[in-house]
Amino acid sequence: MRWHRLWAMARKEFIQIGRDSRSLMIVLVMPVVLVLLFGYGVSLDLKRTATCVFDREGSPQSRDLLARFASSEYFNVVKHVDGYPALTRALDTGACKLGVVVPHDFSRRLAAGGPVSLQAVVDATDDNTANLVFGYTEAVVRGFSAETQLDWLARQGERRPPVTVRIESRTWFNEDLESKSFIVPGVVAIVMAVIGTFLTSLTIAREWERGTMEQLISTPVTSLEVMLGKLVPYFVIGMVATAVCVAIGIGWFEVPFRGHWTTLFGSAALFLTVVLSIGFLFSVLAKTQLAASQFALVSTFLPSFLLSGFLFAIEQMPPVLRALTHLFPARYLVTILKAVFLKGTEAPALRFELAALGLFAIVLAALATRAFQKRLA
């Protein structure tokens, strides 16, 4: 390998990327857009659920109960209605996700100490959200119910019961239970997968399509020099994009960063090597830019989205899918990034994931080197 030939290739690629507005957009704009999009758009948290209340009694007790909904950060009471048709309409139009109906004999039955039913109607189009809404609703009602019981006991002259079982929960790693802290580290992996695979998938195919490849391979440049020369610029760009994403995550979204920079960028470098090699491989095999870029998207972008644990927890996937995730390098990076960001995990504890990424990197880089032959047919 001759350094000046490698440098000539890399320099040429840099110039071409700089003059190609499409590539530039992907390089400069996409990482920022993706981080902002996911940081703001994909929230798995449920807060301020639009709620509609129908108070059929209007007693101090019923108002007390509904006030608890209004003061909870999980609910936002947007509508007071005075009949079932209006409640139905509010849920139908999507103006509200939850309807709470207080019965007309609420305070009377409470005073009698009998069981009282409260009606909650939930828009369960999204079952996950519906479950969360039910959970929060139950919590509010249970709180109200417990206090009513204590008041009742007090009025009977009883002391407060000495023992109740309580959960003292401590949330670790993502203390504020913010889903963006969980998502942003994963976005870094998505951005790298797209830049790495998508852009490189175009480079070799473009030379074939434009007819420049024949001239290129008639020179003494070696396959390895062509490959490295083409990948070095994208490696640099990929690392810069990674740094930009991380900076936005930490600086703007205030995602905690507790690990070591070396672990972060070391694993990023391994993953970049993997995705760059995949992109290069597709570019060599497909020979047209369109086919290569589509292969790249389907094989890298989608799995790193769906099967990496970025949004959907791997532990909860069916066993077959869970096994399948091991084939996609993004899974290891997402695991590493989440651990490094939130837990501050040190490299030795991540040795399995790092080793897996390293193995992928070596195998794919070797395949990419072998795939590119300086021949026409």
Binding site: H4, R210, E214, Q215, L216, S218, P220, R375
Partner: protein
């Protein structure tokens, strides 16, 4: 160079693509500083042969040596010693003139000490002084092509392969281009060039006629013409023309008469004897002879003559 001074040695070179034989056993040798032309219709196997000689295609069988290196065994050594211009313009459109030159200079390992001088030389040769920072895609055909030549010879290769270098280029640029080729050959560079322009073939020292993957004739343009044409050619211009065509078509001295515009080409066994006889014959029939002289056959005549009887001629450009 190989020991006997041949810069390209080709022995029974064959290339098959599946059941199709693109090149069916070609052999030839070139001398140092020679302009060696490949002449033939498209699809005859010219480009395939060149690509094998550049190490871009692996020969099915046979052997070829370029600048002393075996193309199958030492393709990288071959590439260091050749310049190649592919049929399609293949520099980077989105790079400037200078960036293209520097890129190829880098790939060919042009030494730092002579780099600037070589770049200046290439720019000058291409007539692109003052346009070094123009994007290559904005250049007109003739300039692009001279720039491509410049890129291919930055490392001063002893052997140069040019695959239809002048297709799609205007006549003046073509002439300029050939002057450059002749200059390089005079400096000792062996040039193997393919063309289907008959007039360009005349610039070559020797020509190989390629037809359907086979080498059908090899020699200097003059030798080929002599060998191919039975007899000599006469040009006749006269008035009235129709009468002359009728008379000469029946004349025993004339083997063949063909109309070329407002003139006639006559094939005769012996020009010196035929001229007075034809003149006398025409004047006897009341035809006024304005011009009657021997002419040299063109390579087009030769090509047609040599490929007739070998099946259909190539159907032009593909």
């Amino acid at each position: 160079m190989t020991q006997n001074g041949h810069s390209i040695v080709v022995e029974n070179l064959v290339k098959r693509f599946g059941s199709f034989t693109a090149v069916g056993g070609i052999s030839f040798e070139t001398r140092r500083g020679e302009i060696f032309g490949f002449l033939g219709p498209n699809g005859a196997g010219k480009s395939t042969t060149i690509r094998m000689l550049c190490g871009l295609l692996r020969p099915t069988s046979g052997r070829a040596e370029v600048a002393g290196f075996d193309v199958a065994r030492a393709p990288e050594k071959v590439r260091q010693n050749i310049g190649y211009m592919s049929q399609k313009f293949s520099l980077y459109h989105d790079l400037t003139v200078e960036e293209n030159l520097r890129f190829y200079a880098g790939l060919y390992t042009v030494p730092r000490g002579v780099l600037d001088e070589r770049l200046r030389w290439a720019v000058e040769m291409a007539g692109l002084e003052g346009r070094e920072s123009a994007l290559t895609g904005t250049l007109a055909g003739g300039w692009k092509q001279r720039l491509a030549l410049g890129c291919a010879v930055l490392h001063r290769p002893p052997v140069l392969f040019l695959d239809e270098p002048t297709s799609g280029v205007d006549p003046i640029s073509r002439r300029k281009f050939w002057e450059l080729i002749q200059q390089m050959a005079a400096e000792g560079v062996t040039v193997l060039v393919t063309t289907h322009y008959m007039d360009e073939a005349e610039y070559c020292n020797r020509l190989a006629l390629i037809y359907r993957g086979a080498l059908v004739a090899l020699g200097t343009p003059a030798e080929l013409k002599q060998r191919a044409m039975r007899g000599e050619l006469l040009l006749v211009e006269c008035e009235p023309f129709d009468r002359a065509v009728e008379v000469l078509g029946r004349a025993p001295q004339v083997e063949d008469a063909a109309v070329f515009g407002r003139a006639l080409h006559l094939t005769v066994a012996d020009a010196a004897a035929a001229i007075p006889a034809v003149r006398a014959l025409l004047e006897r029939q009341g035809v006024e002879v304005r011009r009657l002289e021997p002419i040299r056959p063109s390579l087009e005549d030769v090509f047609v003559a040599l490929t007739t009887g070998r099946g259909e001629n190539g159907n032009g450009r593909s």
